[in-house]
Assembly symmetry: C2
Homo-oligomer: 321 residues x 2
Amino acid sequence: MHSFQELFATFNKGFDTNHFPSTPATLYEPSEYFLSIGGKRIRPILCLLGNELFNDLHEDAYHLSNAVELFHNFSLVHDDIMDDASLRRGKATVHTKYDNNTAILVGDVMLVRAYEHLQKIQSNHLAKILELFNTTAKEVCEGQQLDMDYSKMDKVTMEDYIHMITLKTSVLLAASLEMGAIIGGANNANCKHLYEFGKNIGIAFQVQDDYLDAFGDAALFGKEPGGDIKQNKKTFLLIHALEVANKEQKLALTDLLKSDGIDKVEKVLAIFKECSIDTWAEHTKSTYLKKAFEHLESIAVTSDRKKPLIELANYLMNRNQ
Amino acid sequence: MHSFQELFATFNKGFDTNHFPSTPATLYEPSEYFLSIGGKRIRPILCLLGNELFNDLHEDAYHLSNAVELFHNFSLVHDDIMDDASLRRGKATVHTKYDNNTAILVGDVMLVRAYEHLQKIQSNHLAKILELFNTTAKEVCEGQQLDMDYSKMDKVTMEDYIHMITLKTSVLLAASLEMGAIIGGANNANCKHLYEFGKNIGIAFQVQDDYLDAFGDAALFGKEPGGDIKQNKKTFLLIHALEVANKEQKLALTDLLKSDGIDKVEKVLAIFKECSIDTWAEHTKSTYLKKAFEHLESIAVTSDRKKPLIELANYLMNRNQ
């Protein structure tokens, strides 16, 4: 068994190489550029951890990890076009450094390359993995579509938001673990518990992300908080605030959403605090974490095997940056 | 055994249905819209013909056909964004009717859906088919990238153009046939001949397409010829003309490429005729067709089994519209 850090190092050793031929350079150079700027690589490590929860690491788990990381990068490259994001991991996004058309094709070939890695998986597991991978891939696209739809809508309910976040972020974390578990030979019940563990960790992570963007310590967070507030982004915090605010606070919030004043962040945060949104967010995060750990608890393997997953969850949840 | 027309009818019966769930409608309604506007459906029929060349039709050939048609539609939706095309099959393209972001995601889910159909293929053929499908998918992306690159370049050689056209158009026709043949249990040598048949038919078809766009009869062609000339599109004809023209003709052509006059098409066509480009195009098309039929000839099955493929080739090659 390996720690999260050991698996991270091993995965990177295999992944940090060229993924495409050299020509046409106009297509593959931008693809290699984006893959070379790194990232947290959480998802491929989840594949490896899912396998090792049940069995010794199998070569197939590396094929799966490569596929999942390529899929994740495909979705980032296309999302960046749609969100008009100029930076990713502190570097220029593909459509900014090159152009939109190149970025569309770069995403496309990354998705195909992901399937090339999947096809290397031995056939007795391939059918199940392909099924889950494809379902998840469509869900991730649906999540991105809903995110774009919600940005244009006046009112988004908490239920809608959680549904969108689950699709856009959590299902890939969950599926990465479960696909790893399939390779490890896990039975269906254990697979499902592991999937739910990943899904709930994902939602807890998003609550934390939204919380840190509003209340994070600038020094620890690495950037000035309030980005989401400035962009009127519908987050756990804003949606809940609009649900619990009294008439006066709601009116003030609605006015602030229309404004662009320099004290906008400060004033929104003040209302958030009046409504105890910070405490609520901490509580909500804990609720999802509790649910996640209950599912982990239900998985029928000895508890020492679960240690690396607990380590990873703690690493993600104590993140201040 | 079935004729091309019979297979076309059977395929359409299965394919003309909903391919996606109803929600999120903002993603799946545009996807169904594009699939509902039809198309020639040559590629899925090639899958079925490839299978029937060697054996009775197997259910897997239909899974394959669905996958190939979805893949083709994925590439059209993304290409239309890149080429800024407002019409496809006489109807509004996805990014025109909806928006670019929707069209990106529509293409993405179609590609994933293609793989969902592939995963239904029985495992003894799946590995070989996935390998060819993925290789082809990357080549189609490469072809589109090269097409965009060439449109910005001053000089494109005939070799470059044929390479681009092969990737962008021919390899999917070729692979559709070969993947069908794999399902039919064809051996490697027969598969390769069938692939080359499809590839060469594809190039011949492109020569014809370029020819008709310049010299086609407006009434039969269904549109005013000269579209490629107006757009300075690098075609078989223009590239060859620039290769064989004398100094004076070359100068005139180069000037015409920079102009936007109302007599541009007429003048370019006059130079094409002076250089016998029309005769050359007919000859080039025949050369590729001959190569294609030599490969078909080499396939070790009785000639009656080859009839539907010859029918299809004739249908494609006598097309005036």
